[in-house]
Symmetry: C2
Subunit: 316 residues, 2 copies
Amino acid sequence: MYIGIDLGGTNIAVGCTDDAGNLIAKNSLPTLSGRSYTEIVKDMAALCERTVSDANAGMNEIKAIGIGSPGTIDSKNGVVVFAANLKMEKAPVAAELGKYFDIPIFMENDANAAAYGEYIACGHKTDSFVFITLGTGVGGGVIIDNKIYRGFNGAGAEIGHMTLRMDGNECTCGKRGCFETYASVTALRKITAEMMEKNPESIMHEWVKNRGQISGRTAFECAVKGDKAAIETRDTYIRYVAEGILSVVNIFQPEILVIGGGISKEGDVLLNPIKEYVYKYDFNKFMPKTDIRIAKLYNDAGIVGAAMAAKNMAEI
Amino acid sequence: MYIGIDLGGTNIAVGCTDDAGNLIAKNSLPTLSGRSYTEIVKDMAALCERTVSDANAGMNEIKAIGIGSPGTIDSKNGVVVFAANLKMEKAPVAAELGKYFDIPIFMENDANAAAYGEYIACGHKTDSFVFITLGTGVGGGVIIDNKIYRGFNGAGAEIGHMTLRMDGNECTCGKRGCFETYASVTALRKITAEMMEKNPESIMHEWVKNRGQISGRTAFECAVKGDKAAIETRDTYIRYVAEGILSVVNIFQPEILVIGGGISKEGDVLLNPIKEYVYKYDFNKFMPKTDIRIAKLYNDAGIVGAAMAAKNMAEI
């Protein structure tokens, strides 16, 4: 059995999996970020014990622990180098958790961990796999030959920060035109707001009034009802996502590319036009095409991936 | 010893290398593309024998032959699936050359072969290496864990066809805004022509009159003399190149990224502003930075890379 920990800015989620990555038990606690890493790790350790107990097991049955964390992670040394939303800098989280458990402990960037989780959930080994998550930002993870690809410094696979439109939208990273500024849910909300302003007759106004605020679902739900402005909003957004995925496909030609994040719950409405666009324009005209799919694990991808990545690392 | 073959639309170049990839002898012949692949391979075989003889060796000392070819290559089966400028479709080039020599023969995409050559020329093994060549088009090659990364279908690493500016310049691939349409020498010539038209006082007009045509060197050479329009042309072009390399760095965070192609002979004039731009804007703020370099082998990268990739494949 393995433990996977998804250390987020809001919650710490801990899961206990079997050797194949099936989730047996899970629990979560608020992170209360801003606390010292030692306090956070103390809660994390207690949550591990509770979750293992919920799985009717003992800590002695756990072969390894994997921790997925946002920010820049030094996987080799198990250190959170910098994570703005955890308010951590050079925090030796793995070593700290090692004070509680005498078990191999590994750290991973959270998007990489989620990618590995979805890779495991795809059920078969492929030598090239890409995961793109559309959330507050756009995250990415690349699995090559059953290994998480991190680049030489651990900071690789920042697919959200490839340029989609040079000199375009301003990004929080300091440059302009990043894929993330067009394809994140944050971007979708912005496009929705702009379209609503231009289209006072759109039923999106009523939708937002009833629910209190614009969300990533506003345009998708109103488009189904035939609202023109909503359809245009949705299709504009989907084309941005598709254009970025097209670049990723031309670069990696992965056997499988999985789209995750909250917006991926839209399913075929999102997936089909992306496939159509990518298959029409990708540079590969003669060889088999990338299988583009919607994520399976959603919020559990991080804990399953962290657990399975730890298994992989422990076996090397 | 190994043989590397660079099968181009214009010339076939054959090189004989030692086990470390040092070029001992090389020769070339016009491809005369449009001929059948059997005729081309016949010339190729004769050129192999002549080159091995020039290296004071015999074919029995050759351990493997590598062929780099443009277009879509099926490496596993040694087939040119499709190559427009060779006018070849489903041509079993490796098997055909095998009729002449009873030696392991491997095929590779030409950009991948050149990437592998520059990787070998870097002299030490790195687990992440990217090569970008700025020529008529923009080619790319990615080496991960000492292996050429091809994607699951052999069509990967088409870095020239990632989007740099969505809805931008039209590309020969059928989509718009590809990196290649901004960063190739073809693009530089176009930018130069446009700037010349807008600036009749520029000394670029005289440069072009003296040499008969605009080239990739026009702006670089006139900029050195202080010509404002030439400086603007050069700097605009360099920023396009830098923006694409920035995306590649954010995605791969390679330990080494090498820039090749004719324009890379400009050296530091090209390299330094690219480094400055990438190091300023890349997403990695806390870990070591990618070492960005100018190519070492230039035109020999293809033959050395094909030879060494064949060595690598033969040893697996």
